[in-house]
Homo-oligomer: 478 residues x 2
C-alpha cells in the first residue's frame, strides 16, 4: 500500500501528545458525569434512514448514508447518526421496559454530518451528552440541576473563560401572550435573528409580521434583558406585562440562577435572547459560550428541556439535556491555541538495556515497575547509554533506569546533568557514563531533566513528584 | 417520533449495567497498554474506498460505503474501516514526519463489516489493538514483548481460561525448504486446513499438490507439534529436518516461550499449527483462544509480525501487532454468560429529600460528597423515605443519606433494617422512619443492604468498604 496520503477535510485526527489532551477532557467529563449520577450509554453508529430523516432540522441533506459497497444501486438503509439525541431516543424506546426512570445517561461518542467543513465545524465530531428522561412527567428541578453538572466538569478542565447562557421558553411565550400576541413561534423565530441583525431591522420584521410598533418594542426589550444573577426578574417586571406563563417562566429561571449562585457562582448567565431548537424545547434552554474568543467562534454546547424526547404512542418521555461539542472545544484549544501534553507517551520510566544478553533483566525491572502502576518501557536497543537517554529525552520520558547487571558497570554520578542535553552532548556523555562505572552495583535511576542519578529499588521506587507518573497538560506548544 | 423499534442484527448495544462491564474491560485494556508504554491513537471512522479496497482478504465486499444521502447516484467516496490496521497504516504514513519511531500505539475503536451476523460475529464491533512499528527494521525482541502485554491485560480481567497460541512463520518455511519444498505458501495454505479437516484428508491434498508421501507426512507431523514450554524444539529436531531459517524460527519461538515462562507462566502455548494471514505475517504469529468454550467459539484476538505495515515508496514500516476482539469477548461474557455489574448506575449515595423546600440542602450534601469523589444523586421526589429507599434499592445504590434539615425530624434508628425490604414493607417502614425522628439532628447515612443507619459528616464520610464507591463486576446475572 505505497501511496500518497492526504487528510480528509472535516475529519480531525490528533497526534499522540494531542490525543492525551483529548483523553484528559473525555476522562474528566466522564468522571464528573458519573459523580453526578449519570450512567454511560453507548449506541451503534448507525440508525435506520427513516429514523434519522425528519428528526433533525434541515439535517436530512447532511446525513451520511451507509450501504455495503457490494449492494450497488438502491437506497441506503442505514445512516450515520448526526447527533446523540436521536439514537438515545431510540435506545429509550427500545429498552423502556428494562430501564429505571427517571433515567440519567451520559453518552460520549462521535457523530457525523456531511456539511461543508468550516472553522470548528467538522464532519466527524465527538459529542458529550447528558440527559435525564422520565415517563409521562419530569420534575422541573432537573432543569436546575443539569447545568451544574456541566459547570462542574468545565471548572475542572483548562477551558477558557465561559458562561452558560440560560433562558426559559415560558418567559417569551407568557410575555407575548400577555401582550396579546397569538403566534408565539413566529415571533420567536424573528426575535431569534437578533444575534445577526440590528434591533431596528428585527423590529421592522415584527411589525411586518403583524405586531404593533409598541408590541414589537416590548418584544425587543424583553430579548435584550440579561443578568449575572436574578436581576432579570425585576427588569422584566418593569416592562409591565403580566401572564401566568410568564410568572412561571420567571420563577423557574430564577430558581436556576439561584442554585447556580450557590453551586457554580459566575458561570450561569440569564440571557433572554437565547432561543435554540424552536420546535423542540419547552422550558429552560442552555447555551455554553466561550468568552474573549475570536469573532465567529461558535457555542461549545447547549440544550434544554423538551416535553417529548420520544413516544411509543402510549407513553411520552420528557427530558432535559445538554450536549457538549468536544471536538469544537478541542479544535479551539489544541488546534488553534496549542494546548498539548507534557509528553507524547504515557511512559514515565525508560529502562536502559546494557547489552542484548541482559535484556531479560531490563524486562524484569519493567515488570516490577508496571506492577506498581508505573508506565514503563524497555529501551529498543542496547545502544550507548547516552543514546538511550536521548531516546527518552526526545519523547519527554522523565526517568531512565539503569539495572544492576552482573559483570556490567553501572553508570555513576559522573554523567549527572549531561544526559538531557542535546544530541551531541548526549552522545559524548555516554562514554563518560560507561567510564564512571563500578562504584555502585545496585539499580540506579536518573531524572534526565536535572541529571540527578540515585540508587533506586525497583520494588519501592516512585517519582518524587507524583505528577511525573502520567503526562500532564501543558498550555504551550512544545 | 412515535414508532416501533427493533434492534438491527449484528449491532450489539448494552444496557447500563452491562455497559459498566464493557467500560471496565476497556479501561483495563487501556491502563495496561499504557503501563506497557503504548500511546493512544484514535482515527476517523472513514477511509477512502481506494485505501480500504484491496487491503483486506476478501473484505472488499463487506465494506460499508459512506455517502451523503443528498449525493444520490455515483460511487461512495468513503467507507467505514473494517479493522484498525488499515487506518493505523494510513495514520503512520500521514504523520511519519511527526512520530518518533519505534512508535508504539494502542487504538480502541469500533470497526464495521457488512458480513452476515453470526454468533459472536458482529457488523459493528470494538477492537483493541496494540502495534509497534519502526522504520526500515524492527528488532525481534518486540515479538517477545508484545504478547506479554496482552497476557498482563487479560490476567487482570475476569476472562475465562485462555491461552495465547504462538508460532513463528520461519519454522514451517525453513522446515519445508529443508524438505526440498519450494512453494512454501501453497503448502502452508493446505496445512492451514488442519483445523477443519482430518489429517489424512490434508495429507492427500498435499500429495495432490506435488509433495511426496514422506514430505506430506513430515509437514503434518510438524503442524501437530505443540507445547506449554520450549519442549517443541526437541520435538521438531527429532523430525530430522535442518535449515538455517528453521533454526532461526525455533530460536525465536523459544525466546518468546522462555520470556512467557517468566512473565506470564502458563498463558502462552507454542502451537505449530497456527498460521493466520498467510500473505501478511513474516515472523511470530499469535492467536488468543478461550479454553472450555462451546464448539465453534471463535478466537478472541490475534496478530503477528509483518515486514511492511505501510510503505511510502522510500521507507517501509515493519511492525508487530495484536488485535483483541472486545465485542466478541463481551458477547460471550455478558451476552451468553451473564457477566454484569453490582449496580446499574455509578451512584454510591442517594441523598433523600425531606420536602421540596429543603431540596437545596440535599443538593448541598450531594455537592459535598461529589467534591470528595463520591458519585451522588439527589432523590427525584420528596416522597416518603421508604419510597426513596426503594428508589435506591431498585438501582442497587448502597447508601441513602438523610440530611439534617432545620425543623424537620431526621429518621432515627427505629427504621434500621427495614428500608431495603420489598415494596410493601418499604412503604410501611417509611412511616416508622418519620415517626422515629427527633433524637438526633445531624446528617445520617443508611446502608440499605444491612439497614444500619449511623450519624455521618458530609465533609468526611466514606463508605467503610471502599469497593462500594464504584460498581464492581458481578459474575451472575441479577
Amino acid at each position: 500500500m505505497a501511496d500518497k496520503v492526504t487528510p480528509i477535510s472535516g475529519f480531525q485526527e490528533w497526534l499522540p501528545a494531542e490525543r492525551i489532551v483529548e483523553q484528559h477532557f473525555l476522562d474528566t467529563l466522564r468522571a464528573v458525569f458519573e459523580l453526578h449520577g449519570f450512567a454511560s450509554v453507548n449506541t451503534r453508529a448507525v440508525e435506520t434512514v427513516d429514523r434519522l430523516a425528519g428528526n433533525g432540522e434541515d439535517a436530512d441533506k447532511e446525513i451520511y448514508g451507509v450501504r455495503r459497497l457490494a449492494d450497488a444501486g438502491g437506497q441506503a438503509e442505514f445512516g450515520l447518526h448526526f447527533d446523540l439525541t436521536v439514537p438515545f431516543a431510540r435506545y429509550v424506546l427500545e429498552n423502556a421496559g428494562k430501564l429505571n426512570f427517571p433515567f440519567r445517561r451520559y453518552q460520549i461518542q462521535p457523530a457525523w454530518r456531511g456539511e461543508r467543513p468550516q472553522r470548528l465545524r467538522y464532519r466527524e465530531f465527538t459529542q458529550a451528552d447528558i440527559d435525564i428522561v422520565d415517563v409521562g412527567e419530569l420534575p422541573f428541578h432537573y432543569e436546575v440541576e443539569l447545568p451544574l453538572a456541566v459547570a462542574d466538569a468545565f471548572s475542572r478542565l483548562p477551558v477558557p473563560a465561559f458562561r452558560i447562557h440560560v433562558n426559559n421558553r415560558k418567559i417569551p411565550e407568557g410575555f407575548y401572550r400577555g401582550l396579546g400576541i397569538s403566534d408565539v413561534t413566529a415571533v420567536l423565530r424573528i426575535v431569534d435573528k437578533l444575534d445577526k441583525l440590528p434591533a431596528a431591522a428585527v423590529g421592522s420584521m415584527l411589525v411586518e409580521a403583524g405586531l404593533t410598533a409598541a408590541q414589537a418594542e416590548q418584544c425587543l426589550a424583553l430579548a435584550q434583558i440579561n443578568s449575572v444573577d436574578d436581576g432579570f426578574v425585576e427588569r422584566v417586571r418593569v416592562l409591565g406585562v403580566t401572564h401566568p406563563t410568564l410568572d412561571e417562566g420567571l420563577a423557574q429561571l430564577k430558581a436556576v440562577m439561584d442554585a447556580a449562585a450557590e453551586h457554580a457562582p459566575g458561570l450561569l448567565f440569564a440571557d433572554l435572547m437565547i432561543a435554540r431548537g424552536l420546535d423542540y424545547y419547552t422550558g429552560t434552554v442552555y447555551e455554553i459560550r466561550l468568552l474573549d474568543q475570536p469573532e465567529g467562534t461558535p457555542s461549545v454546547g447547549g440544550g434544554g428541556r423538551y416535553d417529548a424526547l420520544a413516544s411509543d404512542g402510549k407513553r411520552t418521555y420528557p427530558g432535559v439535556g445538554i450536549s457538549i461539542g468536544v471536538s469544537r472545544l478541542l479544535g479551539l484549544l489544541i488546534g488553534e491555541q496549542g494546548l498539548t501534553a507534557s509528553r507524547e507517551t504515557p511512559v514515565c520510566v525508560l529502562v536502559a538495556v546494557t547489552d542484548e544478553q541482559t535484556r531479560p533483566e531490563s524486562m524484569r525491572v519493567a515488570a516490577a515497575l508496571r506492577a506498581r502502576g508505573i508506565p514503563t518501557l524497555v529501551a529498543p536497543k542496547a545502544a550507548k547509554f547516552g543514546k538511550q537517554i536521548q531516546f527518552a529525552d526526545r519523547r519527554g520520558i522523565p526517568f531512565v533506569w539503569f539495572p544492576a547487571a552482573a559483570g556490567v558497570g553501572t553508570p555513576g554520578e559522573g554523567a549527572a546533568g549531561e544526559g538531557a542535553a542535546g544530541e551531541g552532548a548526549a552522545g559524548e556523555s555516554s562514554d563518560q557514563v560507561k567510564a564512571a562505572s563500578g562504584a555502585q552495583t545496585g539499580d540506579q535511576v536518573k531524572d534526565i531533566r536535572t541529571g540527578e542519578q540515585v540508587p533506586a529499588d525497583r520494588a519501592t521506587w516512585l517519582p518524587a513528584d507524583p505528577t511525573d507518573l502520567h503526562p500532564t497538560l501543558s498550555p504551550k506548544r512544545q
